[in-house]
Amino acid sequence: MPINTGDTAWLLMSSALVMLMTPGLALFYGGMVRRKNVLSTIMMSFACLGLVGLIWVLYGYSFSFGTDHAGIIGGVNFLGLNNVGQDPSSIYATTVPHLAFMIFQAMFAIITVALFTGAIVERVKFSALLVFSVLWLTIVYLPTAHWVWGSGGWLAKLGILDFAGGTVVHINAGVSALALVMLLGRRRGFPQDAMEPNNIPMVVLGAGLLWFGWFGFNAGSALTSGGLASSAFVATNVAAAAAAFTWMIISWIHKRPTVLGTVTGAVVGLVAITPAAGFVTPLAGIAIGAIAAVISYYGMVLLKIKRGMDDSLDVFACHGLGGIWGALATGIFATVSVNPAGADGLIMGNAMQLLKQLIGVISVGGFAFIMTLVLGKLVDKTIGLRVGQVEETVGLDISQHGERAYGGFLR
């Protein structure tokens, strides 16, 4: 097909928007930790732009989107961007240069790795995290992205709907975060010591960048610049709005309407709408976002307060639970009136779609959980996942990076 300049412009712009989400996430996470760990937390996200950005062009894209092997993994035909050029692919995003589609997908892989780091901040060893990230990207992300999005992937053939990565990005990251928390254990002093966020305005700035970038994530996933992109854009915005507002109200009922809670709600709404954005009406997005906030809030109460699990920045509650709800909600609210290439969901009389979505949740979630335990254990036995007691007490900024965020005595 000939190149469509409008589609190309939108996809390149969207790639840039999704790229900005990773530094946004770095600020979102960085503001929530204690001040001795701000830089280390930021670095865990930012380093993915370097590490994953390289792996993706060397072999990542090929094993996710290359020629299918048994529905499980892509092939070697796109290694080192071989056969990925200025002409469109004959299979993926056929109206834009293949390179544009490839770099758009790169940004998703980058932020997925960055997302799970939030669960293990303030105690994970940086070198071990890098090694684990390479293993995890290769053995968990590349296959599962192929299952769901690759031509010939087994979940794609089954008919699972994941518009922009509810399963591939958020369930993957959220469930893996939970497994890592089980391997690493709690931070020293948790939960008896108060661990105050060092800079909530920084968290708000990060959440704002995430919301902004998410338009590229979701509306960009239309891969075209027409009506579908617009519909996904609106659904994304209303879901974030509904979830932010809902979280604010819940927090108010319990005591006060916190800023940290409200921006967390916005992110949870964005997570939940991700798989559904191009398959549901904008109004369905309100329900998806509002319900996501309730699930995530009480999930956090259960995990963190009742069970005392130190998923430090609540990655499982936000991305795992939000992603699972979003995947299932897609099977409930989807309608072909929004996207003829999609499917009808439960409300439109197709209960089968909900079942397919459930299969997607269980297979990707289960695979990610088990493989993370295996890979994490492997890294723990060889390099050691956790820093020593002194390094943790001093803080990871100084012990891992030789820097401090707010240094100097002179103003």
């Binding site: 108060a194 319990h254 005591k255 006060r256 940290l260 809030y297 956090m300």
Partner: protein, 112 residues
């Protein structure tokens, strides 16, 4: 010579400075401190749940005066810093062995 250390509420700083200035006590050092007393703390919220913060922000004023100036300085601080609620702070008076003005090398009375 005595050093007077007064822990006060942040919002009373301007009033305390003014009260001291009216009695011609001009020099002082002010620092931001955290502390706790009978006032107890306050409860802040995380995404879910709460945590207790019992070290609250206060200001510490330090000034060195002659022995006979201690009572009027204390009076000035009390009258300007007091609100009557828990958390109004404390005043400590400490003997000072020597004072030196860095610019001139003057000692003691000439230095304060």
């Amino acid at each position: 010579m005595k050093k007077i250390e007064a822990i006060i509420r942040e919002e009373r700083l301007d009033a305390v400075k003014k009260a001291l200035e009216e009695k011609s006590y001009f020099g002082m050092t002010v620092s931001e401190v955290s502390g706790r007393g009978k006032q107890k703390g306050l409860s802040l919220q995380w995404r879910v749940g709460e945590y207790r913060v019992d070290l609250l922000p206060k200001l510490k004023i330090e000034l060195v005066v002659l022995d006979e100036d201690v009572p009027p300085v204390i009076d000035a601080i009390i009258s300007s810093a007091r609100t009557g609620d828990a958390g109004d702070g404390k005043i400590f008076v400490i003997p000072v062995e020597m004072a030196v003005r860095v610019r001139t090398g003057d000692r003691n009375e000439a230095a304060i």
